[in-house]
């Protein structure tokens, strides 16, 4: 799965079990775009969705989710999950704006990293199921932030650098997209080119075998959680830049979509199998789905139903592939 495509025939086979989620998710993106465009053509007479400007704007908003999902994927590949994302995002944003100045970005990243390391240490050394430990860490972070801010949005503002990274543009392309791209390159590099990447897959498949093979399993778990936390921190810092300040509950909307994006992209929820390309496509799918629904002015109720149905339907499609393999 992580081996490089040395086989020439691999290229000709698009429809492999590994590619299947990516192909299906891409197909869904096309369908979503088609439905959305049909709708805008019918109601407004324009193909808003297909205009490059709109697309870039959506991807810019999506890059915050994309960065969170990239970190989440590392953790899910290990067979774990990070439920502390919501308040890691919020805490990083709040701390970054509170410190301000040149320290803002490093502080935001460090807060994320620190939370991630705590998660990793709890999971790797205390062996507490990640689902429950990160849930507890999320509650603690929320408590810390509520106590710190008094339960209100902090008055401090995002620094110009944070705002530039979130809303600035280079050659008409949002800077946030470059940040997302850099994060993506980093994750792909780790997964494909480094021993740590192999260890992540190995631990996700069979931790005892990886341990007995002399893999530094604890270290790898701490590393993955740390990186996931740092990505959440980065996302939070950018998000504060995007909305010029931090606020309570700003990370709440990122947990479930991030998990959904990773899983829609074909990463096995129990770990050990998955490709980053899938996660990328999963994020784009969710972002576009959201924007089409908001164009249609779908009420929250309908959005929830559609959101849930799409996840289930996509996974039902994937399942055919799994049965074939068994």
């Amino acid at each position: 799965m992580t081996t490089t495509d040395t086989m020439p025939k691999a290229k000709s086979r698009l429809w492999t079990p590994e590619n299947k989620p990516v192909v299906i998710a891409s197909g869904c993106i096309v369908v979503i775009l088609a439905i959305g465009t049909a709708y805008t053509l019918a109601t407004q007479g324009t193909a808003t969705l297909l205009s490059p400007g709109y697309m870039l704007q959506q991807l810019q908003v999506g890059s915050f989710l994309g960065i969170v999902a990239a970190g989440m994927m590392l953790v899910i590949l290990l067979g774990h999950i990070d439920l502390s994302v919501p308040w890691t995002v919020a805490a990083s944003a709040m701390m970054a704006t509170a410190f301000g100045g040149a320290a803002a970005l490093p502080v935001g990243l460090s807060v994320g990293l620190a939370v991630g390391l705590v998660n990793g240490l709890g999971v790797a050394y205390l062996r507490i199921p990640s689902m429950i430990f990160t849930l507890g860490v999320n509650a603690v972070m929320r408590g810390l932030m509520v106590a710190y801010t008094g339960g209100f949005a902090p008055q401090t503002a995002a620094t110009p650098l944070m705002q530039y990274l979130a809303v600035g543009k280079i050659l008409g392309i949002p800077v946030a997209l470059f940040v997302w791209a850099a994060v993506s390159v980093l994750v792909v590099f780790i997964l494909r080119k480094t021993p740590v990447g192999r260890y992540i897959f190995a631990i996700g498949n069979r931790e005892s075998a990886a341990y007995l093979a002399g893999a530094p399993t604890r270290w790898v778990i701490v590393f993955a959680f740390g990186l996931c936390g740092m990505m959440a921190g980065l996302s939070g810092t950018l998000l504060a830049g995007y909305s010029t300040k931090a606020y309570q509950g700003m990370g709440d909307a990122y947990l479930l979509p991030a998990i959904a994006a990773v899983v829609i992209g074909g990463t096995h929820i129990l770990g050990g199998r998955g490709r980053y390309l899938g996660t990328l496509v999963g994020v784009i799918l969710i972002v576009l789905l959201n924007s089409v629904l908001s164009i249609m002015q779908m009420p929250e109720a309908g959005r929830q139903v559609i959101y849930g149905s799409v996840i289930i339907l996509m996974l039902l499609f994937y399942d055919r592939g799994r049965q074939e393999r068994q």
């Binding site: 205390l126 603690v140 959904a260």
Partner: protein, 351 residues
């Protein structure tokens, strides 16, 4: 013979150590709370507390069943909310209409669980991700039913269900309006507490001792082994989720009676789901499945709630309360994990 009896007892005690521990912790916290409460150990306090815990206890029981199977149900809060909004429409009118409303609400809860079970079994989707998705759908339906909070609930019913037995008798004119002498020793009992006992004794206990319930434990302990043993895996999985939905539905109905309204509150649903997991873990059920009981989860939920009661009584800055709750949750799971330090064979960590 006496020898085996004795060792039987020691085995049973050892196996129920987590349950005994959580009960002891609850009693400790609760007695402490009452000793420091100005009106401690009074019926009024019991009733108030019972009302505050009931919905969470039900949701915790709902969570227990899938967890025993080695799964997790992230939709319990959403099912509770959906039934809550539904009940806020149905629990009024003539007695017959109210009874009909109850039945529809209970069936709805069970149906939600049934849907979860079918998606997991026939769709072969991991429970976590399946219920994450169905939870969103249930939440959406709840929002359709109650776009804004509100509702119309029969006042008498809401009143008696959230009070002591005396109020039932007094309101509906049983037992000389509740003044009958024989009735007095039990008249102070809070209705939700009794309801809880009824659900535990007449729903959970039979289930846990049925073949289906046994199969749920077997699946959590080793699904392939359970399959090889010829157990009805699919049926048990669907039954487990259905039962979970039923429990969550009971919680939702109660929430309606308690608040006299329905509210499709997404953060609240999320909080209930998360607290249900915490309650299950504190109650001694293994998240890996196979070990634990819903009775433990009841006390797990009670422990969680009792901690916040203590906060109230000591007048701790409300802003600190979320922090303390988080620390307690983290502390509880970490203490449970300390046994890791006693493991001398590292390989055992991976099982």
């Amino acid at each position: 013979m006496s020898h085996t009896r004795k060792s039987d007892l020691s085995i049973i005690l050892r196996q129920s150590a987590p349950l005994i521990t959580v009960i002891a912790i609850f009693l400790l916290f609760y007695i402490f709370y009452n000793s420091n409460h100005p009106r401690g150990f009074s019926t009024a306090v019991y009733i108030q507390n019972a009302n505050e815990v009931f919905a969470l206890v039900m949701v915790a029981m709902a969570q227990t069943v899938p967890v025993l199977m080695g799964g997790l149900d992230l939709s319990v809060g959403a099912v509770m909310t959906l039934v809550n909004t539904l009940a806020s429409h149905l629990l009024n009118g003539s007695p017959l209409e109210i009874v009909f409303g109850f039945i529809v609400c209970l069936l709805t809860g069970a149906l939600c669980g049934f849907v979860n079970g079918c998606v997991v079994v026939y769709g072969r989707i991991q429970p976590i991700i399946a219920t994450l998705a169905t939870g969103a759908i249930f939440m959406g339906l709840a929002l359709f039913l109650r776009p804004t909070p509100g509702g119309d609930v029969d006042g008498d019913l809401a009143w008696v269900m959230t009070n002591d037995l005396y109020e039932i008798a007094a309101t509906y004119g049983f037992f000389d309006n509740g003044e009958a002498a024989w009735f007095q020793p039990v008249a102070w009992l809070p209705v939700p507490a009794l309801l809880l006992v009824v659900v535990a004794l007449f729903v959970w206990m039979p289930f846990s001792r049925s073949v289906t319930g046994r199969t749920v434990y077997a699946i959590g302990s080793g699904e392939s082994a359970a399959y090889m043993s010829g157990l009805p895996i699919d049926r048990a999985k669907i039954a487990a989720f259905t039962l979970g939905g039923f429990f969550a539905g009971v919680g939702g109905i109660y929430l309606t009676l308690q608040t006299s309204s329905g509210n499709a509150d997404i953060p609240q649903a999320g909080a209930y789901t998360l607290n249900s997991i915490a309650a299950v873990v504190i109650g001694g059920t293994s998240l890996l499945g196979g070990v634990g009981t819903a009775i433990g989860s009841i006390f797990g939920a009670l422990v969680l709630r009792t901690i916040s009661f203590n906060f109230r009584i000591f007048d701790i800055d409300p802003l600190l309360q979320p922090l303390f709750e988080g620390v307690v949750l983290l502390g509880a799971v970490s203490i449970g994990a300390l046994s890791v330090l006693r493991i001398k064979n590292t390989l055992e960590l991976f099982r």
